[in-house]
Symmetry: C2
């Protein structure tokens, strides 16, 4: 019996060790996968916007997403989010270039930091800035959950913005 | 032998189940603890700033932290971060009120969304806005790792900001 107990204890420890190594590895793979998945949806965002499909842009957000746009209060939910991007499109911003700088993946969540450029119909850059997005995995899809950005251009003289 | 194997298998499954329940519970406790810890450091940020201790504010950030201030490129590292808050203090912003709206804790990371108000020496509100901070636990301390904010006030007429 003594030998059997020892055998099962060792077997148990070895199996636990293999299990935990597998869990660690899965977390590592998942982090790499998260960056790729988030970059793909970030590209899709820009593609949908350029196509003028602001509802398609809004569909990339979670149902209970919030935008934190400059010069605005919080904007909650897909319908209101559609309105923000429609306003921007109507104001003459015809393209938004997005570049992912870093992604930190944490299981079913991720934080992305990046830069943006907005362009008018002639392709002239009208604004340059940076953003931070808090991502959530909903089912198998990565969705923007919280989205905040600001300009990197100098403040307008006498403007309210700091 | 057959009975012994079965006994150890059941024992192993029971112990695994207890272990995983303990891990789940720790994660739940930890999330609540994260919100409280992050709110405490957010309060400390405002306290240090009001005391004019901008180095004390910068010390609340990770060594490799980045600010994403409006009308500026990324600002990296504590020395540069100290400079940003010193400039704001020198510009006449004598107090910053911070309110945490939500915290999502994920192990050693957290995402905080909140609102801010800046005040001049007479206590007059000079700006109102919102922020998102990506927090990291360094040792036993929660530190600001990525920090972005923008105003909720209307854009200056003819300003660059969107």
């Amino acid at each position: 019996m003594k030998t059997n107990k020892f055998y099962f204890l060792v077997l148990g420890l070895v199996l636990s060790s293999i299990a935990f190594t597998a869990i660690d590895k899965a977390a590592g793979d998942s982090n790499n996968g998260i960056r790729a998945a988030i970059e793909a949806v970030t590209s899709e965002w820009a593609k949908q916007y350029k196509a003028g499909n602001v509802a398609g842009v809004a569909a990339l957000y979670t149902e209970d997403a919030k935008l934190l746009p400059p010069n605005s209060d919080f904007v909650a939910g897909r319908e209101a989010i559609t309105g923000v991007w429609k306003s921007m499109l109507d104001s003459g911003v015809k393209e938004v270039k997005l570049e992912t700088v870093e992604v930190t993946g944490m299981g079913d969540s991720g934080v992305e930091v990046g830069t943006y450029e907005t362009m008018d119909a002639e392709g002239k850059v009208t604004d340059k800035g940076k953003f931070m997005v808090f991502w959530k995995k909903v089912g198998s899809a990565w969705k923007l959950h919280r989205d905040i950005w600001n300009t990197s251009m100098p403040a307008a003289p006498g403007g309210e913005n700091k």
